[in-house]
C-alpha cells in the first residue's frame, strides 16, 4: 500500500509542478490587470522545448549535457522525501530533513558547475551569485531544521508531521519565527522576487536565468521542470512542517488517502496565491542587499532556536 502511495506521490508532484508555476503566473497577471497566459501554458512550453533541437556549447564537457537530467532527478528524489498528502512514504525512511537540505544543495551545486562549464561570462556571474545565496540560505535552513528537530525530538519529516497532527504543540514563538525564516529561505531558493525575478531573461541582476542562459531544447526543459518541481517541494515542505493537518496517516486506507488529496490541492492553491500576491506587492532587491535579507533569515532561525529553551516544556 505504502509503495503505491509513494509512486503516486512522485508522479503527482511531477505532473502538478508546471501547473502550479502556471497558476502563480496567472494569478500574478490577473493581479496586475493583465489577462495572462492560461495556467496550463508551462505544459505547452515544456512540450515545445522537448521538440526543439538542443544546441550545446562547443567548449563544454560531458558534465554540461548530463547535469540537467541529474539535477531533475535530485529534485525529484527530494520530492519523494517530503510528505504531501500522505505520511506513508517508504522513501522518507531513508532520508530526514538534513538529507533533504543536502540533496537540494547538491542540485544547486551541479547546476552551478554546469553553468561554469558553459564558459560564458554571464553564466559565471549567475553561478557566483547563486553561490552567495546558497552559502547564506543553507545555514538558515539548517537552523530551522534544528528548531523543529529539537522540539519534536526527531528529524524525520513524516514523524514530525505525525507528531504535530497527533498532539498540536500550540502557537509557539519559536515556530512562528522558524516559519518566517523558512519562507525567506524558500523565496531565495526558488529565485522569487525580491531575490531573483523569475519572469525575465533580460535583466543584469538575474541569477537563475543567467546560469541557464546557454541551455536550449530538452536540456532547458529538464532544468525548467526541475525549477517548477522545486517550488512544489518547498510548498509541500512548509505545509508538512507548519500545517500538516488533513494529511492521511501512515496506515490509512485508500479512501482516506484519496480524501487527503483535495486538502493538499487547496494548500497548494493557497500557497500559490500568497506567493503571487506577495510578488506583485514587492520590488526586486539590489544584489548587495541579499546578505541582509538572508542574514535576517539566519537571525530569525537563531532566535527560534534560542527561544525554544525559554518557552514552556523545556
Amino acid at each position: 500500500m505504502s509503495a503505491i502511495v509513494q509512486v503516486l506521490h512522485l508522479a503527482l508532484l511531477l505532473a502538478l509542478a508546471p501547473g502550479l508555476t502556471g497558476l502563480v503566473r496567472w494569478i500574478k497577471a490577473r493581479a496586475l490587470g493583465r489577462a495572462g497566459p492560461a495556467p496550463w501554458q508551462p505544459y505547452r512550453d515544456l512540450r515545445r522545448l522537448m521538440l526543439k533541437t538542443p544546441i550545446v556549447v562547443e567548449t563544454s564537457g560531458p558534465l554540461y549535457t548530463a547535469v540537467p537530467y541529474v539535477q531533475l532527478a535530485a529534485i525529484w528524489l527530494a520530492a519523494g522525501l517530503v510528505p504531501a498528502f500522505s505520511l506513508a512514504l517508504p522513501l522518507a525512511q531513508a532520508g530526514d530533513l538534513i538529507v533533504l537540505t543536502g540533496i537540494l544543495a547538491l542540485s544547486r551545486f551541479l547546476l552551478m558547475l554546469a553553468s561554469l562549464d558553459a564558459g560564458t561570462a554571464f553564466a559565471g556571474i549567475g553561478a557566483s551569485r547563486e553561490m552567495m545565496i546558497g552559502a547564506l540560505a543553507e545555514p538558515a535552513m539548517l537552523l530551522v531544521v534544528f528548531t523543529v528537530a529539537v522540539l519534536v525530538q526527531t528529524s524525520s519529516l513524516p514523524a514530525i508531521a505525525a507528531h504535530f497532527i497527533a498532539e498540536p504543540v500550540g502557537l509557539r514563538v519559536s515556530l512562528g519565527m522558524a516559519l518566517v525564516a523558512l519562507v525567506m529561505v524558500a523565496i531565495a531558493e526558488n529565485g522569487r522576487i525580491p531575490i531573483d525575478n523569475p519572469a525575465t531573461h533580460l535583466e543584469l541582476t538575474m541569477v537563475h536565468e543567467a546560469m541557464v542562459l546557454d541551455y536550449s531544447g530538452r536540456h532547458l526543459a529538464a532544468i525548467e521542470l526541475a525549477a517548477m518541481l522545486k517550488l512544489v517541494v518547498w510548498l509541500a515542505l512548509i505545509q508538512a512542517l507548519f500545517v500538516p493537518f488533513g494529511m492521511a496517516g501512515a496506515d490509512a486506507g485508500l479512501a482516506a488517502t484519496a480524501a487527503a488529496l483535495p486538502v493538499f490541492a487547496a494548500k497548494l492553491v493557497a500557497g500559490a496565491t500568497a506567493l503571487a500576491l506577495f510578488e506583485v506587492g514587492i520590488a526586486k532587491m539590489r544584489v548587495f542587499r541579499y546578505p541582509e535579507f538572508l542574514g535576517g533569515a539566519v537571525v530569525l532561525g537563531m532566535l527560534a532556536t534560542i527561544y525554544l529553551y525559554v518557552s514552556r516544556g523545556f
Partner: protein, 220 residues
Amino acid sequence: MTDLSYDIAHLLAGSTLLLSFALLYQRRLTAVIKVFAVQGLVLAAAAAWQAHVQAAPHLYLTAAIAFGLKTLAIPVALNRIVRRLGIHRTVETALGIAPTMLAGVALVALTIMLVLPIAQGSALLTRETIAIALAVVLLGLLMMITRRNAVTQVIGFMSLENGLILAAVGVQGMPLVVEMSVAFSVLVAFLIFGVFFFQIRERFDSLDLQYLEDARDRGP
C-alpha cells in the same frame, strides 16, 4: 490561564521583538516610521489581550493609549517632521546593518542568560515575557547607539519604551498610575525632541548628530 491564551500572549510579544529587528533592518526613514507604527499596533494588541486574559479592564486603557500614541499620533507627527525638514530619506548608520543585526542576536542571548536565573522561581509566563521585553528594550538602545540621524534615534527611544510597556502589561498588578505617567513622560519627551529637531536643523542644516560632537570639541 489556559495554554492557548498563553500562546497568543507570547506570539504577540514575539512579534514585537521581531518588529524590533525589522526596525534595525530598514534602510529608509519612511519605512522605519511605518514599522514603528506596526510595532505600536502589535503592542496595543498585546496589551488588549492581557486585559482580556487577566480580566483587568485598566489594561484596555493602556492598549488604547498605545494605539492612539504609537500607531497614530507619533508616526504621523514624525512623517510631518521628515517632510517639513526635507531630511535625507535614507538611514545613516554608524555600524553596518548586518553587524547591527548580529549584535542584536547577541543582546537577545544576553537577556535570556540574564533573566533565566533571576526569574527561575517565578511563573513561567512572567519569565518569558520579561526575557522578550528586556530584549526589546536593549534593541531600542542598540538602535539609538548605531543610528546617526536624530529621527531614527528618537524612534529607537520610543521602541525602547514599547519594551517597558510590554513588560508592564505582562506582570500582574501593575498600577495604572505608573503606566500613565510613563506614557505621558514619553509624550513630553517626544515634544521636546520635536523642538530639538528644529533647533539642531536650524543650527547645523542637518539632523546628523555628528555635527553636535564636532561643535562640542571646538569648545565655547
